[in-house]
Every structure is written in structure tokens, then in C-alpha cells.
């Protein structure tokens, strides 16, 4: 389908970092089922480095692809760097999203922010 870029379709078809981290020390969930998108991010942070990240998403193709790309962008990165992640960075890395799907990238950014916030709270 020409609706999405090759990159989006690749991350949708073969999402990276799908699943759950049982001993995560930062978990964030955003969105709601009523609107049709929910993202949940699990972070494993050691010495302020994101050593592992996993996600679960209920949503459309671009929501799944945005979650997948966002996890790729922060994996192995310091927490301070992950905090700087913007939805634009996700969109660029995906070679763009249709205008009416941009909110999916915002949701991915927010899910990571929420997980980092949870991590700070638990510290």
C-alpha cells in the first residue's frame, strides 16, 4: 500500500523490540482504547543507560511502526539522551508519516516520556 513509506511498512511488518520486560524499572502507558491507540513501553535502565526496551501496542499500522522505531532510537542510549527524543525524530526515521497519522509519533514520544518518568519515580 502506498499509504505508508517502505520504512513504516518494514517496522509494521517486522516490529523491533516487541514484548514485555518482566523486571523493567520504567513502564509507561499512553493513549486509550476509545481513540484506537494504546502504547505501553517497558524500560530496563542500568547506570542511566537504557539497556533494554520493549513495547506493546494496540493501534493502526503507523502506531505499531512508531512504537517500534521509537524503541530503536533509544535502545542502548543514556537516559538523558532518550529524554530528548521528539516525535519529529521518529517521523524522520520512518521517512515520514501521513499528516493524519502524526499523532501516532506523538504517542510514541509520550509513551517513552511516561516510562522515563516512572523510572525517575522509582529511583
Amino acid at each position: 500500500m502506498a499509504l505508508y513509506s517502505e520504512k513504516v511498512m518494514d517496522h509494521f511488518r517486522n516490529p523491533r523490540n516487541v514484548g514485555v520486560i518482566e523486571d523493567a524499572n520504567g513502564i509507561g502507558e499512553v493513549g486509550n482504547a476509545k481513540c484506537g491507540d494504546i502504547m505501553k513501553m517497558y524500560l530496563k535502565i542500568e547506570d542511566e543507560i537504557i539497556t533494554d526496551v520493549k513495547f506493546e501496542t494496540f493501534g493502526c499500522g503507523s502506531a505499531i511502526a512508531s512504537s517500534s522505531m521509537a524503541t530503536e532510537l533509544i535502545k542502548g542510549k543514556p537516559v538523558s539522551e532518550a529524554r530528548q527524543l521528539t516525535n519529529q525524530a521518529v517521523v524522520e526515521a520512518l521517512d515520514g508519516l501521513p499528516a493524519h497519522k502524526l499523532h501516532c509519533s506523538v504517542l510514541a514520544q509520550e509513551a517513552i516520556e511516561a516510562a522515563l518518568e516512572d523510572y525517575e519515580k522509582r529511583k
Partner: protein, 394 residues
């Protein structure tokens, strides 16, 4: 590839394509011209009109060719509203799950001072004739109820509703876009005053349709200009398209029973197969339903991702999720039958064509099962439901 989106549009039949080419090549005159070329085209046009009229139990002069179903819906409703307004009647009755061609026209009329009653379609997706009767008032000028719903395929009690409208002397229009050519339609038998149809839903070309209006009804123009279509719709007629539509309709109507006998058992096989998926539900009553329509909700997943993965597996289908509708809300049809947002996002519509086989059905069932299971495997909604942190709706 399995094309299972025939409610969106159908493949043109060979007979329709051949007719279209033949007319475009040979009968290219303007039907309004006096010379031979023009008169040939006029003849072809009127022959198509007779054919279409005959196939639905109408008179040729009661058929007005349009650009499709949307235009026919607009013109039917606008005309009835104008007649109503003249008589001081500004109340219209319709249903909550009409096509947007009807609903948006009614919204416009509402802003112009009309009062609109949208009837409940209940959980089974069926309008109750007695509720139509109860809703009729002194100032009701039109009842418009679709023949069969485009998303969930439920077939409405048109004949009974028509009888009620006749008895109360209220005009009755039906959007039969999804029904015509697939189930028997006869305007005389079914008490229909006005009816909309669209060629591309019965293997005719896109951009062509017709409006049937009883000869006693004075139609208002949407398009002003020349005197084509008895002055009710200006513009040089789409002669090849119209002739191809008549050809397609003849073929479809002649084969209604044969097609139904082939498609319906396959549809039932798919419904049974998909019902095995836990926490799923068929949307709309199983009967009376269009022979090729299947519409399911699967809890815990979203429709667009389901469609994309089915497309990867060679299955073309559609969904009522917000992401596929291009708005923030899921399908108004699913909401109208009482599906809450959370599950309405996870809907799948399969609309089968005549070439569907049992093997296709089995492939569809296994592909949908696989994709639903896969999407649920990383859905946080599904995880919560399974963990008991929330109640299953389906």
C-alpha cells in the same frame, strides 16, 4: 489475491466492459443532436432506460440517470424536502446508520430548518416498521431508509415500511445501492416511491447510477443547464457508462438466485470459522443479510493493522476503525448498533464476490485467525483483558 471488498466496489463484468467499449466506439453521438449519430445514441440511452426500469418494476420515464449513488441520494432527499417545504411539512425520518450521502444531506437540511428523526437500528441492525409508523407526524414529508446497510449488510423490512408510508401518504425513499443486483428489488411490489442505485456495486462502471422516482413526484434539479433527463439533470449523458450499467444490471438480476446460492453458503462457512475466534462477534443480524456480507469485531485489536496484514496475505478487505475512516471515531454504523468505541475499532468487513470459492473461504478463515492472534500477542489491551484487569465486552 482474494478481493473481498465488493461492498466498496466491484470488478466490471465482461459484458459491461464490452458494452462500454462498443458504445464508446460506435455510438459516440450526442443524444441531443438531431442527425443520425445523435439519434443512435439517444436510442441506446432510451433502451438502457427501458432495461433498467423493467428490471426494478418501474416505467422508463421514472428512471433518471445520475453520476452514482451519492447524487441520486442527494437529489431524492432534496426533492422531497422541497415538496415538503411547499406544503409546510419539514420533518424527515431516517435511520442512524445511513450512508453519509444521506446523513450529510439531512444535516444540511437540518441547518436549513428541517427537523430530522433518526431511528434506532437496534443491536441487530434492523429498523422496526412499527417505530417508523410511530415516528410519522402530520408534518413528515419523507421517510428514507436504506435497503441494505453497506457495512453490516442487514436487509431492512422495506416493503412493510413502504406500506406504512403509503398509508400515511408520506414519500418513501430507499438507498438501494448495496441491494440492487444482489437481492430482489421491485419498486411496485415493495411500495417504494424513490430509489437510489449505483452501477459500480453490481459490476457496472464507476461514476454512473440512477434515481427512480415515481412519476407523480416532481424532482428538483441539483445540476442546472440543458434539458437532458426531462430537464431534471443537465449535462450530456454518459452514454457508454449508462449502457454498460444496464448491461451489468441485467446480468446481475438474471443471476440473483444463482449467485446467492453460491455465495451464501461460503459466507456462512466464513462466519462460522471466524466465530471460533475467542471474544469476537458478528456485527448485525445474520439474517436477513446480504449474501456476501461478513462483518466482525475482534476484541483487543485495531482494524487498520488487521487490514494491512491481510493485504500482505493477499486478502483485500475493509474495516470500520477510526484509522481507516480518516476520522477519530470508528464507524457510525457500528456505533449505531451499540458497539462501544473500544471494540468498534477492531472491526473487519469482508464482502464476497461471485468468484469466491470454498478454498478462498478456508484461506480467509485461517489468515484472519492468524493475524488476530498475532496482533493480540502484543496488544496491551488484550494483555489486560486476559489478566483480568478489565472486562471482556465480546
Amino acid at each position: 489475491m482474494i478481493y473481498a471488498d465488493n461492498a466498496a466496489t466491484t470488478k466490471m463484468s465482461d459484458a459491461a466492459i464490452n458494452k462500454m467499449i462498443e458504445v464508446a466506439k460506435e455510438t459516440y453521438g450526442n443524444p441531443s443532436s438531431l442527425y443520425e449519430f445523435g439519434q443512435k445514441a439517444k436510442e441506446a440511452l432510451e433502451l438502457a432506460r427501458e432495461k433498467v426500469a423493467c428490471l426494478i418494476g418501474a416505467e422508463p420515464r421514472e428512471i433518471l440517470f445520475t453520476s452514482g449513488g451519492s447524487e441520486a441520494d442527494n437529489q431524492a432527499i432534496r426533492s422531497a424536502a422541497k415538496l415538503g417545504e411547499k406544503a409546510g411539512k419539514k420533518h424527515i425520518i431516517s435511520t442512524a446508520f445511513e450512508h453519509h450521502a444521506v446523513l450529510h444531506t439531512l444535516e444540511k437540511l437540518k441547518s436549513e430548518g428541517f427537523e430530522i428523526t433518526l431511528l434506532d437500528v437496534h443491536e441487530d441492525g434492523l429498523v422496526r416498521p412499527e417505530e417508523v409508523e410511530q415516528a410519522i407526524r402530520e408534518d413528515t414529508c419523507l421517510v428514507t431508509v436504506m435497503f441494505a446497510n453497506n457495512e453490516i449488510g442487514t436487509i431492512q423490512p422495506i416493503k412493510q415500511i413502504g406500506e406504512i408510508c403509503n398509508r400515511h401518504q408520506v414519500l418513501f425513499h430507499t438507498d438501494a445501492v448495496q441491494a440492487i443486483g444482489h437481492v430482489p428489488v421491485n419498486v411496485a411490489d415493495q411500495n417504494i416511491d424513490m430509489l437510489s442505485a449505483s452501477a459500480h456495486k453490481f459490476h457496472g462502471p464507476k461514476g454512473v447510477g440512477f434515481l427512480y422516482a415515481k412519476k407523480s413526484i416532481r424532482l428538483s434539479n441539483l445540476i442546472e443547464g440543458g434539458a437532458q433527463e426531462r430537464g431534471r439533470r443537465a449535462g450530456t449523458e454518459n452514454v457508454p457508462g449508462i449502457c454498460a450499467m444496464a448491461e451489468a444490471l441485467s446480468e446481475a438480476v438474471a443471476n440473483i438466485e444463482k449467485n446467492r446460492d453460491h455465495i451464501e453458503p461460503i459466507r456462512n462457512r466464513i462466519i462460522e470459522g471466524l466465530s471460533e475466534i475467542p471474544h469476537s462477534a458478528l456485527n448485525g443480524s445474520r439474517e436477513p443479510r446480504l449474501p456476501g456480507n461478513i462483518n466482525f469485531c475482534f476484541e483487543g485489536i485495531e482494524g487498520e493493522s488487521l487490514l494491512l496484514l491481510l493485504d500482505d496475505k493477499g486478502i483485500a478487505a475493509s474495516s470500520g476503525s477510526a484509522c481507516t475512516s480518516g476520522s477519530l471515531d470508528p464507524s457510525h454504523v457500528l456505533l449505531a448498533i451499540g458497539r462501544v468505541h473500544d471494540v468498534a475499532h477492531g472491526s473487519l468487513r469482508l464482502s464476497l464476490g461471485e468468484d469466491i470459492t470454498d478454498e478462498d473461504a478456508d484461506y480467509i478463515i485461517s489468515a484472519v485467525k492468524e493475524v488476530v492472534e498475532y496482533l493480540r500477542s502484543f496488544s496491551p489491551v488484550w494483555r489486560n483483558l486476559v489478566a483480568g484487569k478489565g472486562k471482556f465486552i465480546l
